[in-house]
Every structure is written in structure tokens, then in C-alpha cells.
Symmetry: C2
Subunit: 304 residues, 2 copies
């Protein structure tokens, strides 16, 4: 067994309560999650925000892992301090170093169980491909978005987000807890297979590549002027066509999609994204052959 | 036309955002809601909590209309002050008196569109019966619960709650807005019919009479020890039978219903009720003949 240690983070957003609940129950019942022999370090990302049942206190912790913020001295934001602390404890150079970070999230959007990777890091893509081959989860590749930076997993050599919904903020739902458990176990199983050397990679992976985001319709003063169209609500991962209804305005006017057909929306009407001016993100579904350098990078990381 | 004026309250809970959105849009677009000629006074119940996107600031406004609280001098709770203010403005003896109050709510439970009446006030039952006859909405009769007192509509001669879900707190969903609009219009249409004297009452109404509430399973220290069973989630209004799964504990143990068969659960896993120690409420479905004194009471109120 190598010195590989996995960081398993829940509650990076304090009002996403299902994954923290799962970790709490795991502490009471050690057989609840099969780690497949992997060494796993579970941690609550933002315990102060969890206590307050808020997404964050000063700023979004999962946008606080930006190099400029991490290098700042004497920040007044609690989340930047917490980001620094998590890295000093569990970062690749931390006191209890972890090489891979799995960050567990939930969403009010109907994302089902899904994976999010940030950029095209080879080990991330290899791991996402292995989990997709086991459970069929869709992969959202977030990249090239200047407005959204500083995600937690980016500061570990390998890492991804497991994103599950729909579920209201602050509400435990048994199905969401169970979906989280299954996705986490699939991740551990995949890494154990890599560790054992007996891993079978899929030939390719299906990714949904981030193209950009749409804001809600707004008045000239910035006030929200419409809502996500009822027919689009809950249709995450389902391709838009020219003319698909997107938004409804107060007077009943419907704004329709005019972009490239087969664009795939994700995070439709996620409650926490209104403040980020994101009503949904748009992606392009692509099939990528799994490259040997990806699996090689993951293998090298696991072997330490 | 009588001097009848209706109070239409949205945002009594600051994180229930769909009805306030509807009222905002109505201000911009006067044809959005057909009032059927009724005089309607729309108001945001708890604007301070709405600004904070919280259910309440100091205490639940919709439990703050208790006579003892309303008679108290110099309360330090903002919601008690707001309750007094709403009554002094729009109460039956207020400066702009309203005789009927309709209070618009949303819930994370799968209640669909539904009506809640408090106690067995004749005019309330007549109005609920008329709306049920139009839209078929289920009626939850809340009564005899010492732990839950002080609802807003109880302080008006006639009033009911329109409760719609499931929808996360803080999230606008077009379908919830539209369901709210339809229920409000049905209410106005019913009252206009009463006012015109050309009203046809149903022979009976179907009510779900409150029996009591179940808390989540808890440890001896009060900590939550389980979650609502996945099979029960979303099954509001569907009768329980002996053996129906209710809760799942950390070790997988399932707690099952052992009460009287045909008990009907409502408000299953409503996010805001965890702090009230309510995992769901239990009701008995009954068919009540519509009594002449009920319609008489509503008629008298409308005629002023």
C-alpha cells in the first residue's frame, strides 16, 4: 500500500447538509461506506457556515482557493482563512498530506448524481472516466470561466466534485444521502483498482464541456425580470434546440434559446447561483478517447 | 358592492419567495391576476426577513399572532411588532380594515396546491369548500395543537393559507408561481360569486383533520438519529398503512408506521419544521356535509 491518502470533504457549503450527515453517520457506523481499503480522511469543509446553516459566512469557500487569495496576508474573510487552514492541514504539503480531494456537494438543480472536473488535468479525467464507467454519471468539465475561479479541488494534485440534486438547501433527503454514498464508494473502488494495478479503463469518456452561463433576464436596474421557464425547470442534461423556452417574463413573454442546437444546460435554477448571475450553464457534449497519459498520471499519483 | 376588502399576504416567511414574486409582477402587470372585481390589498408579510432571505429574524411571524403576544407591551421580537403593525393597519379594526385574509406560503414538502384552515370557523370552511369545488385542492384542517399557535389568518374574521410545494426555500420556480396565481384567482372568483349572490356551494367538503405530528428519531441527547425514509419522501396526502416505512436510521434500521391505517401524512420533511420537531403531521381524511350556517357566515361577512 502506498502512502496515498484521500481527502473527503463535505459541507464546503454550510447549507448543503446531506453529505455532512453521511459523514456523521459513517463515524457512528464504520461499515456504512466501503473504502475498499483506501485511507480516507473525512472533513467538514466549512463547519462555521454549517453551524449557521448558511452557504458561507463572508464569501463562498469554494471560490476562495484562488492563488492570490491564498497568498494574501491577514485576510478578513473567514473562508479565505479556512481555505489556508485546510491546505496547511490536508494539502499535498500539509501536516497530514492528501494527494486526492473529493468534494461533496448538493444542488437545487435536477443534476442527478454527477461529477464536476475543473480544467483538463490528466489524473482528474482518468478518475472521472473510471467512476463514469462504473455508475454512468455525467461529467461536467468546467474550464475557462474567468468569473468562477478558486475551487477547492484545484489545489490538490487530483480532485473532483460529486454534485447531487435536486434537493432544497438545508434539507436532508434519504435518497440524496444514498446517492452520495454510492458515488463516494464508486470513487474509492476505482482508486483501489488503480492501486491494485488491476484497473480497466473505459475506451472513452463522455464529457459536457462548459461553454458559458446565462443570467436571468434583468431590468435595466439589475432587478430580476423573469423566471426560468416551467418547461425547462428540471431538464438538466437535456439538449436545447433553437426555440426551446428558457425564461418567462412578467407579462407572459417567453424568451427562447437561439444558440447552437444540442447545447446542453446544467445547473438550471440552482438557488445559490442567482447571486453569481447564473441561471444555468451551457455545455457541449463530447466523447473523448481516454488518453494513456491520463491513466499514467493517476497511476503515478496513486503509487506515490 | 359591499365594503369588503381582502388582505392578500405573501412572504409571511421571508425565504418563501414565489408568492412575493407574484405580487411584485402583479404590480407591474395589473392583468396578471384576475380579482373578479374584489377589492384586494396585497402586502408583504415580513419584508425585513425577505430582505435577509430568512424565514424570520427573531421568531416565526406565523406563530406570532397569539393573543398573549399581541397584548404584550414593548416586545423585543421584531415579528411580534410586525404582527401588531399588520393588525393595526389591515386588521378588522385597522386603519384600512380587511375582513378576509389569504396568506400565501410555499413548502419543501410535496403538498401540491393545498389549503390550510385553522379550527372550524364557519366562514373559513365555506370559503375552503368553494375553492375545493373549483380546483379540487385538498384541505388540511389544523386544530387542537397546543404547540403550534398564533397563525396570522386567525386574527381576521375569515382567512386561510394557500400552501404550495415542493419548492426549495429561496428559489423561484415558474410552476409554483403559476400554481399560486391560479389558487388566488379561484379564491377571488369564489368570493365574487358569494358577493353576487349567485354562488353554488358543494354538498360537502373533504378535509384532512390534524391528529398530531411525528418528530424525527432522536438520540437521547436530542440529536437527529435518522431521516425520512426515501419511499415516504414526496408521498404527502397518500395514506399510511401499518408497516409503511417512516424513517431510516444510520445503521439502516427502518422505523415503520404502527398507527391507525389510512392515516394521511402531510408536510413530510418540510425544511422549516425540523426546528419545530415536526417530521410530518398526521391527519384523518373525512367528508363533511357543508352546513348552511357556514355559507351563512361567509355570506354575512361578504355583505358586511
Amino acid at each position: 500500500m502506498s502512502g496515498l491518502q484521500l481527502l473527503l470533504v463535505a459541507g464546503t457549503h454550510g447549507n448543503e447538509v446531506n453529505a455532512p450527515w453521511l459523514l456523521d453517520q459513517w463515524l457512528k457506523q464504520s461499515t456504512l461506506i466501503n473504502t475498499y481499503g483506501m485511507r480516507v480522511l473525512p472533513v467538514i469543509g466549512n463547519p462555521a457556515a454549517r453551524t449557521m446553516a448558511q452557504r458561507y459566512l463572508d464569501r463562498d469557500l469554494n471560490r476562495s482557493f484562488r492563488p492570490d487569495l491564498l497568498q494574501s496576508k491577514g485576510s478578513s474573510d473567514q473562508e479565505v482563512d479556512r481555505a489556508k487552514q485546510l491546505l496547511s492541514l490536508y494539502g499535498p504539503e500539509g501536516s497530514s498530506p492528501c494527494q486526492i480531494a473529493i468534494d461533496l456537494h448538493s444542488t437545487t438543480a435536477a443534476m442527478g448524481s454527477s461529477l464536476v472536473v475543473y480544467g483538463r488535468r490528466p489524473a482528474d479525467l482518468a478518475l472521472a472516466g473510471l467512476i463514469q464507467a462504473r455508475l454512468g454519471l455525467p461529467i461536467y468539465l468546467h474550464e475557462g470561466d474567468q468569473a468562477q475561479q478558486g475551487f477547492l479541488v484545484e489545489r490538490w494534485p487530483c480532485g473532483l466534485v460529486i454534485e447531487i440534486g435536486p434537493v432544497p438547501q438545508g434539507l436532508l433527503q434519504a435518497r440524496i444521502v444514498e446517492q452520495t454514498r454510492l458515488a463516494v464508494e464508486a470513487c474509492f473502488e476505482a482508486l483501489a483498482a488503480v492501486s491494485s494495478g488491476l484497473v480497466a479503463y473505459p475506451d472513452c469518456l463522455v464529457i459536457h464541456r462548459h461553454l458559458g452561463s446565462l443570467d436571468l433576464p434583468r431590468q435595466s436596474d439589475g432587478q430580476q425580470a423573469g423566471v426560468v421557464h416551467a418547461q425547462l425547470q428540471g431538464r438538466d442534461w437535456q439538449a436545447l434546440q433553437v426555440g426551446t423556452p428558457l425564461f418567462t417574463l412578467a407579462d407572459g413573454e417567453v424568451l427562447r434559446f437561439e444558440g447552437e442546437s444540442s447545447t446542453v444546460p446544467v445547473f438550471i435554477n440552482e438557488a445559490a447561483y442567482a447571486e453569481k448571475h447564473i441561471a444555468m450553464s451551457l455545455t457541449k457534449r463530447e466523447v473523448w478517447p481516454l488518453e494513456p497519459k491520463w491513466s499514467g498520471a493517476l497511476q503515478a499519483l496513486v503509487e506515490g
